[in-house]
């Protein structure tokens, strides 16, 4: 055996990811095939990631997307380093230099290497999480150490751990230079000067911290697959106007009118895709949950899992950078402000208006990107039931395709009273544009 101990594709029903995730913390470490152990390591850390994103105050949606990208790339590169058929993303992603290689004359264990690289990323990406999160990371690391190493020769295990950590350190060094590694005050700048003019964003919250907007510099971060944050920049939104026949007023009036006649289903849609930080895994976490669900349903092989998780993370992260670039380029006033100013001073939106400029819609941009990436991976007509919010008591929703879900995610923001139609429709377009760069990444060696 040259590069890895086991290359047997073990795809029995027993390795369904959801089952593995559900039993990961309860089951004792048993001898399992390498692929099963790898999937348990991967699935359990990703389950914890979705929890930590929800429970770490730094983790607003842009920050969450960044973590998903680095975790995905780490998992992918760890596995790809032992697979002749997988290509490295070094040289394809901005600033990613060639990663440490395995010694071709020695044996490695994928599960143990994955455990080492991902646990290192988790410790670093979630260094800011609270004591419960730290306790959970420690507990999961201990359990997965045992799972990963089960019946693996100690020399191989030690070598794999060392390799995984070296690879993880390489990724972390790369991540440290992207402009998004330090987030203070949960992303709200200490000083920020609001732009004058009625068209511009003003605070919509009575929370003291949110009197300035979230992460105004995020659009300048280094992107992953697309050249930079301006790559898929959108045209301006309709020009601000308070004239009743102006396109801007008409869009605002639509938000207002819809709110007055909101159907039960429209409200359910708004709440299903609300994906509030600190109360859910955030919008990018919602799409990650969908992807994990689909990978489990398809009983996907490890190579497919890491490829999909890397691509989705990259697409989401680039979507937030591109979206934030335009949010602060146009700095548009929210419907809550405009409608109260021009149409109805007593108006309330059913969702909490996020504390940053309106155009484009972040959920729409990242949903467009996610749908495009997942369509590339799983096909245009992959129907699924989205059970992301089962634990929170929100009923699952069925979709005929990823784009069906993305379109609903987009329009949910209008139903929720937090976005105008232009921000939604053009946001979805922006996501599609951004995802094209992700989908152009080459992960499989062409025959």
């Amino acid at each position: 055996m040259a590069r890895i101990i086991v290359r047997i594709a073990f795809r029995a029903a027993a390795c369904r990811m959801l089952l593995v995730i559900a039993t990961a913390t309860a089951a004792p470490a048993l001898a399992q095939p390498a692929e099963t152990r790898s999937e348990e390591v991967l699935g359990t850390w990703y389950r914890l990631t979705l929890e930590l994103v929800r429970h770490t105050p730094t983790y607003s949606p842009p920050v969450a997307s960044r973590a998903f990208a680095y975790l995905g790339v780490t998992a992918y590169e760890t596995v790809a380093s032992g697979r002749d058929e997988l290509m490295t993303l070094a040289g394809q992603l901005n600033g990613l230099t060639p990663l440490p290689a395995r010694d071709p004359g020695l044996d490695y264990d994928d599960a143990t290497a994955l455990q080492a690289s991902i646990s290192l990323l988790m410790e670093n990406l979630f260094a800011n999480t609270g004591p419960t999160g730290q306790r959970a990371i420690d507990a999961i690391a201990r359990k997965l150490d045992a799972v990963a190493r089960a019946e693996v020769d100690s020399d191989i295990a030690d070598r794999s751990i060392a390799y995984g950590r070296t690879l993880g350190e390489h990724v972390l060094a790369w991540a440290a230079q992207d402009g998004g590694s330090v987030v203070e005050n949960m992303g709200f700048p200490f000083r920020y000067e609001l732009k004058p003019g009625p068209q511009h964003w003003v605070p919509t919250s009575t929370i003291g911290q949110q009197q300035v907007p979230l992460l105004p510099e995020w659009g300048g971060n280094r992107t992953f697959a697309m050249p930079d944050g301006a790559t898929c920049s959108l045209p301006p939104p309709p020009a601000y106007s308070e004239e009743p026949d102006s396109p801007f007023f008409v869009e605002a009036r639509e938000v207002y009118d819809v709110s007055l006649t909101l159907t039960e289903d429209q409200e359910a849609i708004a709440r299903f895709w609300s994906d509030d930080p600190m109360l859910t895994p955030t919008p990018p976490g919602h799409w990650l949950a969908i992807a994990l669900q689909v990978l489990g349903e398809k009983e996907a092989a490890l190579e497919m899992r890491v490829d999909a998780l890397a691509r989705l993370g990259i697409g989401l992260a680039d979507a937030f950078i591109g979206c934030w670039h335009d949010k602060y380029k146009y700095d548009l006033v929210r419907p809550l402000t405009y409608i109260r100013r021009v149409i109805d001073p007593a108006w309330e939106a059913i969702l909490i208006t996020p504390p940053f400029p309106e155009y484009p819609s972040g959920h729409s941009t990242q949903s467009g990107a996610a749908a495009e990436v997942l369509t590339y991976l799983f096909g245009a007509n992959y129907a699924f039931e989205d059970r992301t919010h089962d634990d929170d008591g929100l009923p699952a929703r069925r979709f005929d395709s990823f784009w069906h879900a993305a379109d609903e995610a987009g329009i949910s923001r209008l139903y929720g009273g937090i976005h105008y139609r232009a921000a939604i429709e053009l946001g979805l377009d922006q996501g599609k544009c951004i995802a094209a760069y992700t989908n152009a990444l080459v992960t499989r060696v062409r025959p």
Partner: protein, 530 residues
């Protein structure tokens, strides 16, 4: 029946509006006397003690001076007998009391058997324990005697009331995460319990489901219906599908949650503490809810006169200047973490002020480590101004619970704060230019001796100041004993009691700078320390 008198409120609001709205309130002076007060309790322990750390102030010696119980977490709790002299320095003496249990997170004084000797309920990581007062600050375990099931949860909140005709109180206990869950504790909130009376014992507890990791509870008559409801402030860090809660607890019926159909709006915060007070003299309490960076000051959205209001609240924290969302000194950009909250009039001007204990959960880098406690002084226009640093109580220790009480019976309210991993701190209020005050203790002859659920009303100018007599709220601890009112320059005040069953005593003119006990059915009696 709505006991609220709208006409009085309208007059009061008009009176307040006529005051000098922008006048700066007098800043009280506090002197820290931790080094000499004799207290040495640290709230210790790791993960299971990241919440809790309560203080209980109550008189168990019978001398009228509030004694102190401080939770110790993983270490034994501390009981301190108050040996201060009236108007003198604060002095406490550690005394073996029977309360020195380990794993205590908090405590609330409560005269369970109405024998006139204060008992105390200890909240713990593990079994909760009711300790029966024996007199002279000695206590004995009473779980078995009174049929109290202490459970085996991580208990973090308590509220008590007396239901109509009951011999024993109804006690709500708030429970936190399943502490045995290591990897995925989120969504593992354990059930809160309601212990109702069964004669002169407790019935088996009833689960208050759904439960969402309560960190503070308060029985409060929010709509002045005569029947308190149970407010529960929950920690969104751990629940899934949860929110703040308001339970109907009506005699002889199962507890029922207020819902959106009733007007109760979803609010999801890192709820850690509740303080209630009728700040605007309209007869209804406002509620301050502590959290992490997004503290709330809730006021009824539509306090409709002569009708029962819906439980819909607006957040007035920003408008009133009490967001207290980040440290008020220095250039620290990081947000604050708030725990115990208590409204009291610390400068005796007739307006309730707000104390908030602050401190990082542990060492969370997203939140301020140097996080001074707040003292927000209420101005005549109803807004608040920060004075913690100027008053001398802006400690940056990692604070949790606290109690504000007049420990040396000089009419000026003092302060004790419990700190995580550091000794508790004690401050004496030494304000020299203090205004007048009045302290009252209502007493019932039989059950519910301390008149829990009643109201004390004191006329101040054209306004009527009202305090609801409660056991609960704050963070993991509270006080029971004298109820304090600032009177400003007023030398006497018309005072009456709305007893828990709704009967109202006649107005009596009481002299400022005095303590009064008011026995039901009798006139008020001046009380003086021996």
């Amino acid at each position: 029946m709505n006991r609220f008198l709208p006409a009085i409120a309208l007059v009061a609001i008009a009176a307040i509006a006529n005051r000098a709205a922008n006048a700066e309130p007098a800043v009280p002076s506090f002197v820290e006397e931790t080094a000499s007060d004799g207290m040495a309790t640290v709230y210790s322990g790791e993960w299971e003690y990241m919440v809790g750390g309560g203080a209980a102030a109550f008189d168990c010696s019978g001398d009228g001076f509030p004694d102190l119980f401080l939770a110790g977490g993983a270490s034994p709790a501390g009981f301190y007998r108050n040996i201060s002299r009236q108007g003198g320095e604060l002095r406490f003496e550690k005394q073996a009391s029977g309360l020195e249990l380990e794993t205590v997170t908090g405590a609330y004084p409560l005269d369970v058997d109405s024998d006139g000797i204060m008992d105390i309920v200890l909240l713990r990581v593990g079994e909760n324990v009711i300790m029966r007062g024996l007199g002279n600050c000695r206590f004995e375990r009473a779980n078995e005697m009174w049929g109290f099931d202490g459970g085996d949860a991580w208990s973090t909140a308590l509220a008590a009331t007396w239901e109509d005709g009951a011999d024993f109180p109804t006690i709500a206990i708030g429970n936190y995460i399943d502490r045995h869950e290591e990897g995925f504790p989120w969504g593992s909130c354990t059930a809160n319990w309601l212990h109702r009376a069964n004669g002169a014992r407790f019935a088996a507890p009833v689960s208050l489901k759904p439960s969402h990791c309560a960190l503070s509870m308060l029985f409060t008559d929010w709509n002045r219906s005569g029947t308190p409801s149970l407010r529960v402030s929950n920690d969104r860090e751990y629940y899934k599908g949860g929110q703040e809660q308001l339970w109907r607890i009506e005699t002889g019926t199962e507890p029922r949650l207020y819902s959106a159909d009733d007007g109760w709006e979803t609010l999801r915060i890192w709820g850690m503490g509740i303080a209630g007070y009728d700040l605007n003299f309209d007869g209804y309490p406002e509620y301050f809810l502590t959290s992490m960076a997004d503290n709330k000051l809730q006021a009824l959205a539509d306090p409709a006169p002569e009708t029962s209001p819906r439980p819909a609240y607006t957040d007035a924290a920003f408008a009133k200047g009490v967001t207290a969302h980040r440290p008020y000194v220095g250039e620290n950009v990081k947000p604050s973490t708030a725990w115990h909250a208590q409204f009291e009039d610390v400068n005796n001007d007739g307006l309730a002020d707000l104390f908030v204990a602050k401190g990082n959960v542990a060492a969370m880098p997203d939140f301020a480590m140097e996080d001074p406690n707040n003292l927000l002084l209420q101005k005549a226009d109803g807004s608040f101004v920060e004075a913690g640093d100027r008053a001398g109580i802006g400690s940056t220790a990692i604070s949790r619970g606290a109690a504000i009480a007049d420990f040396n019976l000089d009419g000026l309210l003092d302060l004790v704060v419990v700190n995580r991993w550091e000794e508790a701190q004690l401050w004496r209020n030494t304000s020299a230019d203090n205004a007048n005050w009045l302290q009252v203790r209502p007493i019932q002859p039989h059950g519910n001796r301390d008149a829990i659920g009643g109201w004390i009303e004191v006329k101040h100018g054209d306004a009527v100041m009202r305090r609801e007599i409660t056991v609960g709220g704050g963070h993991a601890g509270g006080h029971l004993g004298w109820w304090h009112f600032g009177l400003g320059g007023q030398t006497e005040a018309q005072t009456r009691i709305v007893w828990p069953d709704g009967e109202t005593s006649a107005w009596e003119k009481l002299r400022a700078r005095h303590f009064y006990t008011i026995q039901r059915g009798r006139t008020a009696t001046v009380w003086q320390p021996r």
